[in-house]
């Protein structure tokens, strides 16, 4: 846990710097993917910067609002931090709206954004480790991973490594058209399992024993499986294969 990077008299907050780095790398990755894979869609080509801006601003705002919602407390938005799933859940209807409810275009955008999302999220998790949030349960070993003065499971770093592995899987071994489905399934499973090892206040969604992130993980996995199975067997319009 190293919340500040000291340069002279100034303490730079490490979490904020890593979030900034994640945004820069995310944008450059998205731009590169767009340049490589988007040959036909001129709307996304023309407005990619605007789409990115709106997603960042609205995504971060709702990431904070959702964390308050999970804690049933709206007295001060942002007091519980931010949650990745809050931004992701809002990004889906937001981008459908931005792309004028064109499902083909939306799937293309999702596939273009998946590698950027994975890399940005991984860097953000390193930021979480530096800031000392999103920590795991107490353990006796691994003294190098000390958070809040205790030895804890470094769930942030485990998640960051897993995100990098998913990044390599979806960019190297998965077809472009199916990237987002693999992302939803793989990240959903990993996040669902990692939640059992988290020890910070997870909040509550439906008054059940599962954490809000686990509920959303299950929904994402089921959604991805539904899209894969439904459009494979029951429809000639194959949205699981992306834009033609």
């Amino acid at each position: 846990m190293y919340p500040y990077i000291k340069l002279g008299d100034i303490d730079f907050p490490a979490y904020n710097l890593l979030v900034g780095l994640s945004l820069i790398i995310g944008f450059k990755t998205f731009e590169k993917q767009e340049h490589t894979y988007n040959k036909n869609d001129f709307f996304i080509k023309k407005y990619k910067e605007v789409i990115f801006c709106i997603n960042i601003i609205i995504g971060f705002a709702f990431a904070a609002i959702f964390e308050n919602f999970f804690h049933r407390d709206f007295s001060r938005v942002g007091q519980y931090g931010i949650t990745f799933y809050g931004g992701l859940v809002v990004a889906i209807p937001l981008n459908l709206l931005l792309l004028n409810f064109s499902l083909n275009r939306f799937v293309l955008l999702l596939n273009l954004a998946t590698p950027a999302l994975l890399l940005s999220h991984a860097i953000g998790r390193v930021g979480c480790y530096m800031a000392g949030c999103c920590y795991g349960r107490l353990i006796s070993d691994f003294s190098v991973f000390s958070t809040l003065g205790n030895n804890r499971i470094p769930t942030q770093l485990v998640e960051a490594i897993m995100l990098i592995i998913i990044y390599f899987i979806v960019t190297k071994w998965v077809r472009f058209e199916s990237r987002y489905l693999y992302y939803f399934i793989l990240y959903g499973v990993i996040r669902f399992l990692l939640e059992f090892f988290r020890d910070d206040d997870r909040g509550n969604l439906f008054n059940i024993s599962l954490s809000p992130a686990q509920v959303i993980s299950v929904i994402l996995i089921l959604l991805a499986l539904f899209i894969r199975i439904f459009f494979k067997f029951f429809s000639s319009n194959n949205y699981s294969q992306g834009i033609s």
């Binding site: 100034i10 907050p13 904020n16 710097l17 900034g20 945004l23 820069i24 910067e49 801006c53 601003i57």
Partner: protein, 124 residues
């Protein structure tokens, strides 16, 4: 013919400036309110209003800097204007008690704004 920028500097300066602007704003709001509360004529409402003022200008400067940074290549002139707005508001934040971090944010935005205008441009 439309012109497009080639430099990454506005993007880096805009985003790093914005992420550093958040702690600077919180510090500025707290410091500004504290300074006001210590003053003889100040009461709790004026202290609170100074805090709100610093938060409001930091939100404006942060959003302008972020949007300006991201648009730095595709719309260099618009991005430059947005980053100048961000620089001015970050400067006001510094004067309102934002401290050294706020001054650094202001310098980052200013460098980004200059690069928006002077970067090498290509016709598209």
């Amino acid at each position: 013919m439309k012109q497009k920028g080639t430099s990454e500097v506005p993007l880096i300066m805009g985003i790093i400036g914005t992420v550093l602007n958040i702690p600077a704003a919180m510090c500025g709001a707290a410091c500004g309110a504290a300074i006001s509360a210590i003053g003889e004529a100040a009461n709790s409402s004026s202290a609170s209003s100074i805090g709100n003022y610093i938060v409001a200008i930091s939100v404006i400067s942060g959003l302008s800097g972020l949007v300006g940074g991201i648009l730095g290549k595709s719309e260099p002139n618009t991005a430059g204007i947005l980053m100048i707005i961000a620089t001015v508001f970050a400067g006001l934040e510094t004067l309102g008690g934002g401290g050294l971090l706020s001054l650094i944010v202001c310098i980052f935005y200013l460098i980004g704004a200059i690069y928006c205008f002077v970067q090498k441009k290509v016709d598209v």
